[in-house]
């Protein structure tokens, strides 16, 4: 699936009657990389979950290319090309690494598993281990590899670096950079490691209390630490 543009208009959503995000609007061009930043509890995860159809939508519109997916179910959105790697690294604990990967093939031949093993050689070594036997980093790799095997046109990544050793963070970011360079996928990255996120992104959106508080080019934030402090509450680290 080629990269697809994403257009969000006035999106409000939450859990049941509780609204977490309010009036969010943004557009991401096909193949672009949007970093969503903000302090904890500002609605970043809810935004991604809403794009995936996992929350209660109270208003607004979500379009992938020309298609309105606002009313589509989660599984239909995944079929349309949205790949989601949640913070909780949602792998199937009772399946082996290889079985987990095979569930992400979406009709592609089993030989496509080589792509996953090329991205994450560690997974090849652990192919016979169950999901529950993997370390946090390996689970993250597996979750990402399984999603990428489905050839998503839009990739939603929720704090993929959380809890990972710096060396694994470097590996993952290098992989994402390679992926982004292909322009074959549109990426929305929610990340607390701001410097890495700014290095990676082509545009940035900052959220505060469920709303967009700032949006612009990453260079602006990289050059202005005081602004980062004001928007996100931490300096670049």
């Amino acid at each position: 699936m080629p990269a697809a543009p994403l257009d969000i208009r006035n999106l409000s959503a939450g859990y049941g009657p509780t609204r977490i995000i309010e009036g969010i609007s943004f557009s991401v061009k096909a193949g672009d990389r949007l970093a969503v930043l903000g302090r904890n509890g500002m609605g970043k995860t809810t935004l991604l979950a809403t794009l995936m159809g996992l929350t209660t939508r109270h208003g607004g519109e979500i379009r992938i290319g020309d298609q309105d997916v606002t009313a589509k179910r989660t599984s239909a959105r995944a079929d349309l090309g949205i790949g989601y790697v949640p913070q909780t690294r949602d792998i199937f604990a009772s399946l082996t690494v290889e079985e987990n990967l095979r569930t992400g093939l979406k009709g592609r031949p089993a030989s496509a598993l080589d792509e996953a093993y090329a991205m994450f050689p560690r997974l090849r070594e652990r192919r016979g281990n169950y999901g529950k036997q993997l370390s946090g980093g390996e689970q993250q790799m597996l979750s990402m590899a399984r999603t990428l095997l489905g050839k998503p046109s839009i990739l939603l990544l929720d704090e993929p670096l959380e809890g990972l050793a710096p060396v694994i963070c470097d590996e993952l970011m290098a992989l994402l950079a390679k992926l982004a360079a292909t322009n074959e996928v549109t990426i929305i990255l929610v990340e607390q490691q701001i410097e890495r996120a700014l290095d990676f992104a082509s545009s940035v959106m900052v959220m505060e209390r469920g709303r967009t508080s700032w949006s612009g080019a990453p260079d602006v934030l990289t050059a202005d630490r005081a602004l980062v402090d004001r928007l996100v509450g931490v300096g670049i680290h």
Partner: protein, 333 residues
């Protein structure tokens, strides 16, 4: 992913034939032990095989998909009645009767699945009981068709492949049932390792995760119910063919509960667990009931309590763990 260098490496086959061959040979070996060592108990062993299909069927929906059901005997019973009625009304070929059982079981499975898998948890369990009871009530009320409480009798199938007559020692029935079990078991081994089967296990793990990778849960569960219905239908048809009678017990709540116990005993989520549970439970019941006709249920209850305490995931788990340890040792050496 075009920038990523993909190295093709020789793959270990994901669906190896070795496992299927080992499975088939193991069942044949077990069958040979039964056939040669217990020639007087072939009728019992044939009944055991019939029930094994029902436990395997239950394993597909409960062990592999996490569907709670206490009405699974309905599919077995419908398969048995369909084959029995077809035989009484003129179809004598055992293979054709088997096909009738499979067809009826599949339809019943799809109907049950369409109703039961819409819900989760307690409502699902209650609905499964309701479906089971409805089928049992129908089997009782439609006595002109099913024989009602007297049971459907007069089932006299013809020769297997036009050669082997069903004999009074149940040799033909046993070997026919064993052959069908081998075929179905091998097919199921492949089925549960297919992408469809893997995704069903994924749904059991977490259906939300499955949805996030594009899986529509409901159609898959209904389809799995259909497959389970076909397997249960095979068991029902074989039982009807081999015993020559179909009674209300084949659709009873007790039958549904009993097979769930067998599955838990052996280990849900493993085909071998389903088979082991059936063999152990039925042989234990057979021996203990003969030795002590009044208190055998107490002993069966005690056995279950011990197993649930010491092997809560079923008797197959320690065996699998042992195999895994031996395999690790083997690869380390």
């Amino acid at each position: 992913m075009s920038e990523i260098v993909v190295t093709r490496v020789p793959h270990k086959r994901s669906i190896p034939f070795g496992q299927e061959a080992a499975g088939a040979l193991s069942i044949i070996a077990l069958g040979a032990i039964g056939y040669f060592l217990y020639p007087d108990d072939l009728a019992f062993l044939t009944r055991l095989i019939g029930i094994a299909f029902l436990v395997l069927s239950l394993d597909l929906v409960t062990g592999y998909c996490g569907v709670a059901t206490l009405g699974h005997a309905a599919q077995f019973g419908v398969g048995a009645y369909a084959a029995g009625i077809a035989c009484v009304r003129g179809i004598a070929d055992p293979v054709a009767l088997l096909a009738v059982g499979v067809f009826a079981g599949t339809i019943m499975g799809l109907i049950s699945g369409a109703l039961i898998t819409r819900f989760r948890g307690l409502p699902q369990l209650v609905l499964s009981i309701a479906v089971g009871q409805l089928v049992a009530a129908l089997a009782n009320k439609l006595s002109w068709l099913t024989g009602g409480s007297d049971g459907l009798s007069g089932i006299t199938p013809g020769k297997v492949f036009g050669i082997f007559n069903f004999d009074m020692y149940s040799r033909t029935a046993f070997l026919f049932s064993l052959g069908v079990l081998v075929i179905v078991f091998v097919l199921l081994q492949r089925f549960v390792r297919s992408p469809f089967g893997l995704m069903c296990r994924g749904i059991k793990d977490d259906d939300l995760r499955a949805r996030m990778i594009g899986v529509s849960i409901y159609p898959r569960l209904v389809l799995m119910y259909g497959v389970a219905g076909a397997v249960a239908g095979v068991g029902g048809a074989l039982t009807a063919i081999s015993t020559g009678v179909v009674g209300l017990d084949s659709v009873s709540f007790e039958r549904s509960a009993e097979v769930l116990v067998m599955l838990v005993l052996g280990g849900a989520g493993h085909l071998w667990g389903a088979l082991a549970g059936t063999i152990i439970f039925m042989i234990f019941e057979h021996i203990v009931a003969a030795a002590n006709p009044f208190h055998w249920m107490t002993l069966v209850g005690l056995l279950l309590i011990l197993i649930v305490i010491f092997a809560p995931r079923g008797l197959i788990e320690p065996v699998l763990a042992l195999f895994a340890r031996l395999k690790r040792k083997g690869s380390a050496a």
